[in-house]
């Protein structure tokens, strides 16, 4: 059984992330578009492919259609074959207990029979929500070398930010590589240490099975960070921290999501995108059928990423454009992220916006607070909207998806939410 996979990877992709507002009304966080052609989940999936791990399960719950559609048969990540594959595990009705996933660890617990059937030597549990590149073989090797019960990847975050994360205090057992986790706190109010968990966990399966059983019997909440790790710390199990030092995009707010996109740009971008070998499913939204992008006579493009299928006749600066987007003559798009099939009409000026798919901006629409001093926040436009000609929208606005166009006022003040 040489071909039998030794590692099963499970991706937690069920969550919605409230702070991303309209971007996650119709899709889970992991299916949010990123990087001009891909989706957030393409990052962990491509990491797995590049690490040679090709037995994968995806735990999905919230609005899974977009995600299921995107995964397809897994061929985009070479995950089809006798021992290679992506299984999507949605909640199910069974004999006896039948319920929604009540938390990240419950989602795994409810699929114990699946895991035991595969019977891996180690179980790699990942979040499907983050933008990063990691060779998981390194953490798995470290995990095996330490004979750990759990090895978690951690990254050093600034102290003032640390309270948002699960935090580990890692000793110096293996210097820069990692060490034993001596203390762990989930989102403490006053952090004393700042190695934040990336939600990349490598478990010894039989230990995890025991923890999950005990957690289900004894606790009222079922999360890895809040329940399982503290339980393992209490029992003094071998919990190790693997110190990750690469780029990590924690895109849980609109501002973080926007910033992570911008990290793809500039003369020396923080994300070395072309080196990351990110694959996406080219059948999803038919992006494989797009022709090369067309650029008109008076177009001006600066510091931007633009995919096939776009038509650029206006100006684009520091922006990311997904396939099928059309920038008409005289329009200007700056510091923005436009998802698939947006149309920006003649002379429209968009400054720092994130626009979801199939939205059209009429002639002369203005978004942003160009010229005014002070930091701007991005305006977010939900999908399938038509913004009428000459509408003026400020910064930090939110327009809900699929509104009848008469419900969108001709003037929207900064910070307003249009439902």
């Amino acid at each position: 059984m040489k071909l039998k996979p030794r590692t099963l990877a499970m991706i937690l992709a069920g969550g919605r992330v409230d702070d991303l507002t309209v971007l996650t009304f119709h899709r889970p966080k992991s299916a949010v578009p990123f990087g001009g052609f891909a989706r957030v989940i393409d990052f962990p999936l491509s990491n797995l492919m590049n690490s040679g791990l090709d037995r994968v399960a995806i735990l999905s719950q919230y609005r899974s259609y977009s995600l299921i559609n995107h995964i397809g048969i897994g061929a985009a990540w070479e995950m089809i074959g006798r021992y290679r594959g992506i299984s999507i595990l949605p909640p199910y009705i069974g004999y006896g207990h039948s319920q929604w996933y009540r938390g990240s660890s419950d989602a795994v617990y409810q699929n114990l029979d699946f895991i035991q059937y595969i019977n891996p030597e180690q179980l790699l549990i990942l979040s499907g929500d983050h933008i990063y590149r990691m060779d998981y073989r390194e953490i798995i090797n470290y995990h095996r070398q330490k004979d750990a019960d759990l090895t978690m990847a951690c990254i050093k975050v600034p102290m003032p930010e640390a309270h948002r994360f699960g935090l580990a205090d890692i000793d110096d057992e293996d210097g820069d590589l990692g060490g034993r986790v001596v203390r762990y706190r989930e989102k403490p109010e006053n952090p004393e240490y700042n190695w934040a968990s990336l939600t990349v966990f490598c478990f010894k399966p039989e230990v995890l099975y025991k923890m999950l059983e005990a957690n289900i019997k004894e606790d009222a909440s079922y999360e890895f960070g809040r329940d399982i790790i503290p339980r393992m710390m209490n029992e003094n199990l071998r919990v190790y921290g693997y110190k990750f030092r690469g780029y990590w995009g924690y895109t849980r707010t609109i501002e973080e999501y926007w910033q992570t996109n911008m990290d793809l740009l500039g003369p020396d971008p923080k994300i070395k995108f072309s080196e990351w070998n990110i694959r996406t499913n080219m059948d999803h939204r038919g992006i494989g059928d797009c022709q090369p992008l067309k650029i008109g006579d008076n177009a001006g493009i600066s510091d931007s990423l633009i995919y096939n299928g776009c038509i650029i006749e206006g100006e684009v600066e520091r922006s990311i454009l997904f396939p099928g987007t059309h920038i008409e003559k005289g329009a200007r798009v700056k510091d923005s992220v436009l998802f698939f099939n947006n149309v920006v009409g003649k002379d429209a000026k968009l400054d720092k916006i994130i626009s979801d798919v199939n939205t059209t901006f009429g002639r002369g629409v203005r978004i942003g607070t160009e010229g005014k001093p002070g930091p701007k926040t991005a305006s977010v436009i939900g999908w399938n909207n038509f913004i009428k000609a000459d509408t003026i929208i400020g910064s930090g606005c939110i327009v809900y998806p699929s509104l009848p166009s008469e419900k969108i006022p001709k003037q929207i003040e900064s910070g307003e939410v249009i439902r």
């Binding site: 052609f37 003369p267 995108f273 070998n277 059928d289 008076n298 177009a299 600066s302």
Partner: protein, 421 residues
């Protein structure tokens, strides 16, 4: 059964296309890249797919490797499934007919086993060499309505070009009454597009008649016109035989026009994104601050730091800062270092151009290539696959740099108009 399912398609993809010069040194003409992401054969294959036919045999002969890799399982054109398929039909040795294909009809004759294995109502014979969009199902309908034995797709071309084609003279109902293959003196302007519909049994009978008749246009069609029902199906629209460097360049430039007549995406033309060019692994095109691009087509994976005007770039082309590229076609993963000027060139895949080189130097476009004066005479310079052009080299007009030329091939820094390396 749908009528589309009742038509077997045979795609002739064996042609050398020698007038495409070094572009066909390593590949057959149908496999020549076109419009950034595509190969020429994608147009025929996609037309077949969009017309709903399900079985295609692709007849290859000349340098079929890159074509075979490109076709793969046929999945890109939706030809996978129980009742669908693309089969590659190379020449093969056999009990009696062991020889290379001697002509279009001879190629079909060698593959009668395949034809007999797919009994159908009609056989549609297409060439894999042309850039066009056509609803082939309407052609089949026309063929049936006319109760024809053969229907030939034909279009009106300028009288000056008729000498390159088979020409037909029709009567009022569209029946072809006279045929001239590549006439020197034109009597009509109706030209054959190399698209033939045959009734299945009729074709088998016709091919069996005389084995010396090896070509449709030259032998079988003229004979059939004299005694059987042969009709002309009139096609209107964009159609190009991109068989010369000039025509190939012009068709690429047609993509860049306002309201272009040619639009692969709108036509439903599919590339094979998973074949060797690996579009599937490309990130969006990156435009640096200070880049200037106008009237061009740019594919994913390009990195543009300089200036690109009126050009078509395939995936993965790197254009360094201070470069000026104009009126050119640049294929996959060419790397053009800073300060280079390229004017009116076609560059095959993975060419490397050193700093400050000039390709297409001077204003005199009238000195044709000395070796191939009838291939290169309008100023276009050709650079072959994976050639390496040293920094500071100056190359004139109508030049040919052969594939895999390296530093050592360039004895001089200056290559004059019409020279070949």
């Amino acid at each position: 059964m749908n009528p589309q399912e009742n038509t077997l398609v045979l795609l002739l993809a064996g042609g050398v296309g020698s007038r495409l010069n070094i572009l066909v040194q390593t590949r057959a003409k149908p496999a020549v890249p076109f419009a950034g992401l595509y190969r020429i054969i994608d147009f025929s294959l996609s037309n077949v797919m969009n017309s709903g036919m399900k079985h295609v045999g692709v007849l290859t002969q000349y340098k079929p490797l890159s074509l075979m890799r490109h076709l793969g399982t046929g999945e890109a054109w939706d030809f996978t499934g129980r009742s669908r398929g693309v089969k590659i039909l190379p020449p093969s040795t056999g009990f009696r007919d062991s020889d290379w294909y001697k002509g279009t009809a001879d190629a079909i004759r060698h593959n009668l086993n395949f034809v007999r294995a797919h009994p159908s109502q009609e056989i549609l014979i297409l060439s894999g060499d042309h850039i066009y969009e056509m609803d082939l199902y309407r052609l089949i309908e026309f063929h049936r309505r006319k109760k024809a034995d053969i229907t030939i797709g034909m279009m009106i071309v300028p009288q000056s070009q008729i000498h390159q084609f088979g020409a037909g003279i029709t009567n009022d109902e569209g029946r072809i009454i006279e045929w001239e293959e590549k006439p020197k003196v034109p009597r009509t302007n109706l030209a054959s597009m190399g698209i033939y519909v045959f009734n299945y049994e009729y074709l088998l009978k016709l091919l069996a008649e005389d084995r010396e008749m090896v070509d449709f246009g030259m032998h079988l069609v003229p004979m059939a016109i004299a005694r059987d029902n042969v009709f002309a199906y009139p096609f209107e629209g964009y159609w190009r035989d991109v068989g010369t460097i000039q025509a190939y360049w012009e068709a690429n430039m047609d993509l860049l026009k306002d309201d272009p007549e040619i639009s692969p995406e709108a036509w439903g033309i599919r590339p094979n994104i998973e074949s060797d060019q690996l579009l599937a692994d490309r990130i969006p095109a990156r435009f640096a601050a200070g880049s200037r691009v106008s009237r061009s087509m740019i594919s994913a994976g390009c990195i543009i730091e300089g200036e690109v005007v009126n050009s078509v770039l395939s995936p993965g082309v790197k254009v360094g800062p201070g470069c000026r590229i104009r009126d050119s076609i640049i294929m996959h993963d060419c790397s053009i270092e800073e300060g280079t000027t390229i004017d009116l060139a076609i560059m095959d895949k993975r060419v490397k151009i050193g700093k400050g080189a000039v390709i297409g130097q001077g204003e005199n476009k009238n000195i044709p290539n000395s070796k191939y004066p009838d291939h290169l005479y309008t100023g276009i310079t050709l650079i072959g696959k994976e050639a390496v052009i040293p920094a500071g080299t100056v190359i004139g007009r109508n030049c040919i740099i052969h594939p895999w030329c390296t530093q050592e091939c360039f004895k001089d820094k200056v290559i004059i108009d019409g020279e070949t390396i």
